[in-house]
């Protein structure tokens, strides 16, 4: 189960696409930390030097649109980001983030109220978001039951292992 996260908010607008999250030229990298050095480079070149472990990305709608590159959420995780809060996520990014264990939360109210640098505390399992700088609390949209069971089982890999064991 995911633990409580705490960090500073880095805020972005809508349609943050995978080309700015991790530009194509870095897609031949495989190490999470190496990818992390270039996270958000296309939109925020100083991000990797500014981000601290556990920080939170807060973005408007359609976060992660574009390519299916799984290195996009991996780079964000590799940079030390604890979670991403957005008004909505693009479809493939949403699956990828869950599959690689990057906590994501959909919460338009929180996105509208959080300013860059605010200190945020998140309980991903409960979908609870607290803005410690402003003293406000928000509840993220619940995952559909199937997604919740996938997350609780530890992600897609344990799910696949169970399916394989059932067949054996």
């Amino acid at each position: 189960m995911e633990k409580t996260l705490r960090g500073r908010a880095h805020t972005y607008g809508k349609n943050v696409d995978t080309d700015v999250i991790i530009p194509g030229k870095y897609c031949n990298l495989v190490e999470e930390k190496e990818l992390g050095k270039h996270a958000m480079e296309g939109i925020d070149p100083e991000f990797s030097s500014r981000v601290k472990g556990g920080d939170i990305i807060v973005a408007d709608s359609n976060f992660g649109c574009g390519s299916s590159r799984e290195v996009a959420p991996i780079a964000i995780k590799g940079a030390g980001v604890g979670a991403v809060i957005a008004k909505s996520f693009a479809r493939i990014f949403y699956r990828n983030a869950i599959n690689i264990g990057l906590p994501i939360l959909e919460c338009p109210e929180a996105v509208d109220a959080i300013a860059a640098g605010d200190e945020i505390e998140i309980d991903p399992a409960a979908g609870a978001i607290r803005n410690l700088s402003k003293g406000t609390s928000y509840k993220a949209a619940e995952f559909p039951p199937f997604m919740r069971s996938l997350i609780d089982a530890g992600g897609l890999i344990p799910y696949v292992e169970r399916r394989l064991a059932e067949r054996a």
Partner: protein, 429 residues
């Protein structure tokens, strides 16, 4: 209540009589695709899965080297080598090395690996291209692809379907690309997120199969899970020329339920341009050419427009002429077969004589990989599918998207030019 085309396909692959939007299903896959980038990650994930020794079916996996080919550096070469070793170890039947394939989405239909009614997942967002042949095809990340490699099935949420109906005839100089740019502009880049797009209408009935591929390819640019056409006689003929494998042709029910129906009248449609920096920032070309939009580079290729008919359209405009001295023009034929066909038809000679450089088949500059990456402040007109900040290289570059004809016409002048007026535009000879 009836089902849409993809609801029919998904129900059959899930072993169910019917499915409804929102329902989570486990569906059997007919083909799993990966390229050297997505395969490298997927193979590593598969190696960590307990009990995952072999792929589910070595004849139902396609591995294509296309993104950084020929390898641009040692790191890229290692990824390609890793995929090749995996293909050998697992005895993968459909492995396409450099020189025997090309861009995955051009190659798979060409090789008869896509048929109507099939369910295909791929480690690339443009896997949705195969909707041109009436297949349900969607892109996924590498962990999902690893799961599909070993299970031969995927979990999917059944998407609601948007029906898009095109009425009218395309005018001279207006192509499938223009139709799809107009569609993405109309829907918006998240207008079809988590949704399926079902294409209808007299306009698309008249399109070639690869023209339909151009359209299905860009369904993801509206956020869609897939874009799909009904397989008509033209599609069946295309597939039967390439495979004798049995397949099931599905049709949407007459009383299928659509989330919304969008109608696009194409009689008055002019060439379209997606301006920086999103593919839905689409304008009719007459608005864009009010100012002179000077270009540094023109790119013709990609899984959107790397087909033989695209090269023909460009060659027709460039034949016997020279491109403007201020631009470089880079052409990437979509596949080895397209490249050879272009040789046979004299197209490569026409393009090279005009001053274009013709690269090997592959993704090339489209995603800023190599062979045409843009520098700071440069501006490119491209037949590709995305123009996000930094997509083709420098975050300070600008990318405009258009049809191959518009790109070729603009190559002659050095600025964005309407292909319908190119005959009267100044040309260098």
């Amino acid at each position: 209540m009836g089902m849409t085309l993809i609801e029919k396909i998904l129900a059959r692959h899930a072993g169910l009589d019917r499915v409804e939007p929102g329902q989570i299903i486990n569906a059997k896959v007919d083909l799993v695709l990966a390229n050297e980038l997505s395969a490298a990650v997927a193979v590593n994930v598969m190696r960590t899965m307990k009990g995952a020794k072999r792929v589910f079916d070595r004849t139902k996996i396609a591995l294509v080297e296309d993104h950084f080919v020929p390898a641009k550096d040692a790191q890229s070469a290692n990824l390609a080598r890793q995929m090749k070793e995996f293909a050998a170890e697992q005895e993968i039947e459909h492995f396409f090395d450099v020189g025997r394939g090309g861009i995955e989405h051009v190659v798979l239909p060409e090789e008869g690996l896509v048929a109507p009614g099939e369910l295909i997942v791929g480690g690339d967002s443009h896997t949705c291209t195969y909707g041109s042949l009436g297949a349900f095809a969607t892109g996924m990340g590498s962990t999902d692809i690893a799961a599909a490699f070993v299970l031969g099935e995927v979990w999917l949420r059944v998407p609601p379907t948007i029906k898009v109906v095109y009425n009218g005839m395309l005018k001279e100089g207006v192509y499938a690309k223009d139709l799809m740019l107009a569609t993405v502009g109309r829907l918006g880049i998240d207008g079809a997120t988590y949704r399926s797009i079902e294409f209808h209408g007299s306009t698309i009935d008249a399109l070639s199969i690869t023209g339909r591929s151009t359209m299905a390819n860009m369904a993801i640019e509206a956020g869609a899970k897939n874009g799909i056409f009904h397989a008509d006689e033209k599609a069946l003929a295309y597939v039967r020329e390439r495979t004798d494998r049995p397949f099931v042709v599905e049709r949407a029910d007459a009383d299928a339920v659509y989330e919304r129906i969008v109608t696009i009248d194409v009689d008055a449609l002019e060439p379209q341009i997606a301006c920086p920096h999103t593919p839905d920032n689409v304008h009719p070309i007459s608005e864009v050419t009010r100012d002179r939009v000077l270009l540094d580079q023109v790119f013709i290729g990609s899984c959107t427009n790397g087909y033989i008919e695209d090269l023909r359209a460009a060659a027709k405009i460039l034949h016997g002429k020279k491109i403007a001295p201020s631009v470089r023009v880079i052409v990437n034929p979509g596949s080895q077969k397209v490249w050879l066909q272009a040789v046979d038809e004299g197209i490569l000679k026409t393009l090279a004589s005009a001053g274009c450089v013709v690269n090997t088949p592959g993704c090339g500059a489209c995603f800023g990989g190599h062979m045409g990456t843009l520098g700071d402040g440069e501006r490119c007109l491209s037949t590709t599918n995305r123009n996000y900040v930094g997509r083709m290289g420098s975050p300070k570059a600008e990318v405009y998207l258009a049809s191959p004809a518009t790109c070729a016409a603009s190559a002659l002048t050095g600025w964005i030019t309407d292909p319908r007026v190119v005959a009267s535009a100044p040309a260098y000879s």
